[in-house]
Amino acid sequence: MLKYILKRVAAMALTLFIILSLSFFAIRLIPGDIAGQGAAPELKAALEARYHLDKPLLEQYVIFLKNFLSFDFGESINLYPRRPVFQIIRDKIPTTLQLNIFSLALTIPIGLACGIAAALKKNTWVDYAISAMVVFNVSIPSFVFATVMQYIFCYKLEWFPFLLELEDSSFSLSKFWSMILPILALSFGGISTITRYMRAELFEALNSEYMLLSKSKGLSKLQSTLRHALRNSFIPLCNVIIPMFMNLLGGSMVVENIFGIPGIGSLTSASIQTSDYYLTIAVLFFYSCISLTSMLLVDLSYGIVDPRIRIGGGKVRE
């Protein structure tokens, strides 16, 4: 097990390295001047020297890697001039993470509950209602949904504040209240994804042979559903949750824009669009880290959910 984890971590490091290199070169391809934007031209040469842009590309790459590996992520050039990149990301992570975790905490249980209910009560009004919700959710883009929500609940009904409350850094009820709409907007798509998968998986499990066996053993429907069907249907669900988490981070771009949240989502597009070199690389790196880590976690959790999957075994699993 430990060996397997180590192997995976090594592979992850390699992947990260490749992503890092790719982003280093990809940003160079974007038209635009990395150092000079808005700088007095007589300073341009000095700025270029400052960011080593006057050296050959390969040498720049070596310098960059060296700095990066010694945890010197550089400074923002255009977006937040002279502010260390690490500091920017560190300041922005908590808000985004907080929202996303809340959103996951809402999405997963509700999604599971809806999915289970729909599968158990298949082809009844419960199922239809849930399916209708799923279809509604997947067919409206989140930016439209969030705008409409803000219009209705903040402007028309005045139930919620327009923007996330930031004044108080500690957690309070009113702050939570202001987080509700952003959380809902974030959870919106995820709930239906989980519901859809859960319903499909559970239904398949309910109709499988081992369920027949467990029934014939004399287990009650509840027992067999809980012990066998449900457990089996959780396995493929892990596959859904990783991309969902990534989508959440993407979705926060929209939600952050609309609800005035100083998070990392809006940082991504802004940094790319201003060719903010070091910042972009760091943000990309951050996202990749999260996605790779969650992939690893999911793979490991397979082993816990389903003992049949022997981690580290020779056969490649899917």
Partner: protein
């Protein structure tokens, strides 16, 4: 065993038998001609894979409806722009942001081109409002720094107001007076094009890649899967923004962005199918008879995956359209003046509360497409894989 269970659910053969045993006058047979053909087929020739699927698909009402919707939307996307006398680029700048106005319906007070406005009473005296006021909803006094100012909430006929009495823009216009109806169908065409082309290419790449990885396994598989992991490790959004910034926005770059990581899911699925089937006896038999790798891959193993491929591809089309709309929201949409559903939605979102029609119609189409493709995909899955029926 599961196969048996499912078969029990198919009552069709029983009915036919019953009918056959009854004595019915010959002249009545013609009316049930359809069943007769079915009967003959059942006894005679074998039903092919696709035919079988089609028969099952037909029985699923909602998927048939979904198919109809898709056909309708595709039809409109191709011919819709021709149905209007306006061109998608034709501007009537003076008729900016008109609400929808539809010939017959306007007499019933809906879609009659009016818009509610909060105005100063003094405004109503102005020349341009003279004929345009349809009704006054409410009058009230607004206090501003101890002054009392009379205000009204009035329904204004925007067509009168802008001098567009002779025009009917059935979905309204955007803010430089282009007909939304034409632009919407034109946009649908482009969105669908992006969706279909990208999915088609994804399927091709994914199938080939997944087959090779799955069939050969071992080191090849390890390396190939590492590559997908790297690609999959970069978040889609970040990757697409980077990509579009490098290439510039346009249909081709959109398709490329969607291809960049879109094939990974397909490849993984195909690879899994190969892992499942490549050890089957029939494959081994074929191999011992000297079949080449290519034959084994494409002739013997891959056909097993046709059902899942088609189903997955169907689901991928609307999500491609969705991704396109999201990128449009970020300002990375198709180049003007070409519209797409995403571009229209993103434009509409900015003025959602003041001119809701600009969001409503594109949102309606994208919802219908999502809904239809999902139901259609479900229907296909049931048809190709009866075990999954109704999931």
């Amino acid at each position: 065993m599961s196969k048996k269970l499912v078969k029990l659910e198919v009552p069709a053969p029983l009915d036919v038998e019953k009918i056959m045993q009854e004595k019915i006058p010959a002249d009545q047979f013609e009316k049930v001609a359809g069943e007769k053909i079915f009967d003959q087929k059942f006894e005679g020739e074998a039903i092919g894979f696709f035919k079988d699927a089609w028969l099952r698909f037909k029985r699923n009402k909602s998927s048939v409806v979904a198919l109809c919707i898709i056909v309708f939307i595709v039809f409109m996307a191709i011919f819709g722009p021709m149905m209007s006398k306006y061109h998608f680029r034709e501007q009537h700048t003076e008729f900016g942001t008109l609400p929808p106005r539809i010939p017959v319906l306007e007499d019933f007070g809906i879609f009659d081109g009016t818009q509610q406005m909060e105005l100063f009473k003094a405004d109503l005296e102005m020349e341009e409002f003279k004929d345009a006021v349809v009704s006054i909803e409410r009058e009230f006094i607004w206090k501003y720094k101890n002054k009392e100012i009379e205000k009204v909430i009035a329904n204004i006929n925007m067509y009168e107001y802008t001098g567009a009495e002779d025009h009917y823009f059935i979905f309204g216009t955007d803010n430089i007076g282009r007909d939304l109806f034409v632009r919407l169908w034109r946009g649908t065409r482009i969105s669908l094009l992006i969706g279909f082309v990208s999915v088609f290419i994804n399927v091709c790449i994914g199938v080939t890649y997944g087959s090779v990885a799955g069939y050969y396994g071992g080191k090849v598989d390890m390396i190939m899967m590492r590559i997908t992991e790297i690609l999959g490790g970069v978040p889609f959004l970040v990757m697409s923004i980077l990509f579009i910034m490098v290439l510039g926005a346009g249909i081709v770059s959109f398709i490329l962005v969607l291809i960049l990581t879109g094939w990974i899911g397909m490849a993984r699925m195909i690879r899994a199918q190969f892992y499942r089937y490549k050890d089957y006896e029939y494959v081994m038999a074929s191999r011992t008879m000297g079949a080449k790798d290519r034959v084994l891959i494409f002739r013997h193993i891959l056909p097993n995956a046709i059902g899942p491929i088609i189903t997955q591809a169907t689901f991928a089309v609307p999500s491609a359209i969705f991704s396109e709309s999201f990128l449009s929201y970020l300002g990375l949409g198709i180049q003007a003046p070409e519209p797409s559903i995403g571009v229209l939605l993103a434009e509409g979102q900015r003025v959602l509360t003041t001119s809701p029609h600009l969001t409503l119609f594109p949102a309606l189409i994208i919802s219908l497409l999502m809904l239809a493709f999902n139901m259609f995909g479900n229907g296909l899955r049931d048809a190709f894989d009866p075990r999954m029926r109704g999931l």
